[in-house]
């Protein structure tokens, strides 16, 4: 049984509400209707706020709506093209993805004869589980804030996030298997190979940071990196580099776009999808990119730490966090026009030699720093 009174009392305890001085005046103007007040304070309740508004659902939705456009426009500028332009011309085609989404929704969903219908249809939806759940553990409050702004506080937040992120390729393998097509099979096998190539250095890099911080709770990590010279990227740049390359591999960004490779295997595991199914698998990659960028911001860029912006109150940390996340995402996106695609064996070789080596150096560095006590 859910006891509503206990929930309300928990909602209204001190420090459990998000306080934004900018809109506090507006909230005071709300009529004294109990239901509306209750709903507003429910949304402003920190766990719900984190899950629904920032960094959760709304922020994610807005980012997903505009980030593909930003990426396409950026790549186009670097490659001397123009990029999407014709949808809302005077804004440079900013709602291109909205138009694409409408197209995806009204397209026919084709399930071909050989596909395993049950899994074929459910895997694009199931992929959202490992892609969405890690956001619950992201703390976006700055270290100065008295109370954290995170949906679920856990001392094992990083490990849970990592476990969920590592679950992601399993669903992609499932999609490729259910598609039952040779391009999908090739893409799936490539995805599996890449999975093994990046996962080990990726996990070791995160492990190095956990050893350095001595904790794996998202709140404690943010507190540890309270000043800029204690950010992870400055304390352990090798881990940051290994993590960054690992994320580029994990999100199939261009130098490691081996599983999708549309010139070779025509989007690999997703080749048989059409209509809204393709829309989902297209967007889920960006979602994974957001999660990995958020993790990178948390581990290496100091989370929500930054100069305090008074009118935003508790959202001050969120603004810095999102800014850093978008910078990481843009850096991942900017790789697309710079690099050509590696061959599968080159990608594997890189993952198993250079990046693993980098991650091991980072691990050793962390252990030395921790044992010598250079930090703290």
């Amino acid at each position: 049984m859910i006891d509503i009174n206990s929930i309300i009392s928990e909602m209204t305890t001190e420090g459990s509400q998000v306080i934004i001085p900018l809109i506090q005046q507006m909230l005071g103007l709300l009529p004294d209707i109990p239901m509306i007040k209750l709903m507003v304070s429910f949304i402003l309740w920190k766990p719900i706020f984190a899950a629904l508004i920032c960094p959760g659902f709304s922020t994610l939705g807005i980012l997903l709506l505009f980030f593909p456009w930003i990426e396409r426009k950026l790549c186009a500028r670097i490659q001397w093209r123009v990029g999407p332009r014709e949808v809302v011309r005077w804004l440079g085609g900013i709602i291109q993805l909205l138009a694409d989404t409408l197209k995806f929704i009204f397209q026919e969903v084709i399930i071909h004869k050989d596909a395993h219908k049950f899994y074929f249809l459910q895997f694009p939806l199931l992929t959202f589980i490992p892609a969405l759940l890690p956001i619950l553990f992201v703390n976006i409050a700055s270290a100065d804030a008295e109370y954290p702004l995170v949906a679920i506080q856990s001392p094992y937040a990083i490990q849970i996030m990592l476990a969920l992120i590592c679950l992601f390729p399993v669903f992609i393998l499932g999609m490729g298997w259910a598609s039952n097509s040779r391009y999908a099979f090739i893409g799936t096998v490539r995805e599996a190979f890449m999975y093994f190539a990046y996962e080990v250095p990726f996990i070791i890099a995160v492990l190095a940071m956990i050893i350095l911080f001595g904790t794996s709770g998202s709140v404690a990590i943010t507190e540890w990196q309270s000043t800029w010279w204690r950010w992870g990227i400055i304390c352990n740049p090798f881990a940051a580099l290994a993590f960054f390359i690992g994320s580029a591999m994990a999100t199939s960004r261009l130098p490691f776009e081996i599983p999708e490779a549309d010139q070779e295997v025509a989007f690999g595991p997703f080749v048989e999808y059409s209509g809204i199914g393709f829309g989902l698998v297209y967007i889920v990659c960006y979602e994974k990119m957001y999660v990995l960028s958020a993790l990178m911001t948390m581990l290496f860029l100091g989370g929500g730490n930054g100069p305090y912006i008074a009118p935003l109150g508790d959202l001050s940390g969120a603004v810095w966090f999102l800014l850093k996340t978008i910078i990481v995402m843009t850096t991942l996106a900017i790789l697309r026009p710079i690099y050509p695609r590696y061959r599968l064996d080159q990608g594997l070789g890189m993952g198993w030699s250079a990046i693993l080596f980098l991650a091991l150096i980072a691990l050793v560095l962390s252990i030395i720093m921790r044992s010598v006590g250079m930090v703290l």
Partner: protein, 242 residues
């Protein structure tokens, strides 16, 4: 034997090259050197001798068939008009826009324009009759700007000018060299009188004296159009300077 191999780089060089690539990308993302022409909204400025849609002026045509003769793609054909003369028609399905017809036109009746974007509904429509060649096709201008490509020592640049480029070229008539038809080998004339029939200005006349046909070219009347030269079956007429 020399083998092509992957160049070997040291770690420092590799890092330098990566940094340079990323730096170039950063600079380009802020100041891109995009050279795309936003076509319907702006047009590239074409040179005056651009080989585009061909226009025709009836008054200047002397029906010499040179255009149909010279056309390498057999796109130009002469068709009989109600007044008995022959005028060119162009099949744009075949035309390769070499503009040999314009170069060969002795009267300057054919002339070029900068129109390069004519749309047709089907292949039959692409056969442009003489009447349609007199007036330019209907043009819908959406462009507000003209675009010019400038090439300097380093790179190619795009220069946008806020002006609408005119699509028609004013052809200055060439300095006319007065020519006159002359018979170079009188002994070989067979007296077929084709030249007399074909002459528009009536410069060639014939007279029979004692059963001998005598042809005469009036140099004052002759305009030097060259029709008789072309039609002469013995090829003994030439155009010479007056």
């Amino acid at each position: 034997m020399k083998k092509v191999a992957v160049p070997e780089y040291r770690v420092g060089e590799k890092v330098k090259l990566h940094a340079r690539a990323i730096g170039t990308a950063m600079v380009e993302s802020v100041y891109p050197k995009t050279v795309t022409t936003q076509y319907p909204r702006e047009r590239k400025k074409m040179p005056d001798n651009f080989r585009g849609y061909i226009l025709f002026e009836v008054d200047k045509c002397i029906s010499c068939f040179q255009c149909a003769f010279v056309c390498p793609a057999n796109a130009v054909r002469a068709k009989e008009a109600p007044n008995g003369r022959y005028y060119p028609t162009i099949d744009y399905a075949k035309c390769i826009f070499c503009h040999f017809c314009i170069d060969s036109c002795s009267g300057g009746a054919l002339k070029t324009t900068k129109i390069h974007d004519v749309a047709y509904k089907d292949m039959d429509e692409m056969l442009t009759l003489t009447e349609e060649m007199i007036e330019p096709p209907e043009i819908i201008r959406e462009d507000k700007k003209s675009v010019e490509y400038l090439i300097d020592e380093k790179d190619l640049h795009l220069k946008r000018v806020r002006e609408v480029d005119t699509l028609f070229v004013a052809v200055t008539p060439p300095v006319e060299i007065p020519m006159v038809s002359q018979c170079i080998d009188r002994a070989n004339c067979i007296g077929c009188r084709v030249c007399e029939e074909v002459c528009e200005s009536g410069a060639i006349s014939s007279s029979a004296e004692n059963g001998v046909l005598k042809m005469k070219i009036d140099t004052d009347k002759c305009t030097g159009c060259g029709l008789c030269v072309k039609e002469c079956s013995m090829q003994i007429l030439r155009l010479v300077r007056k």
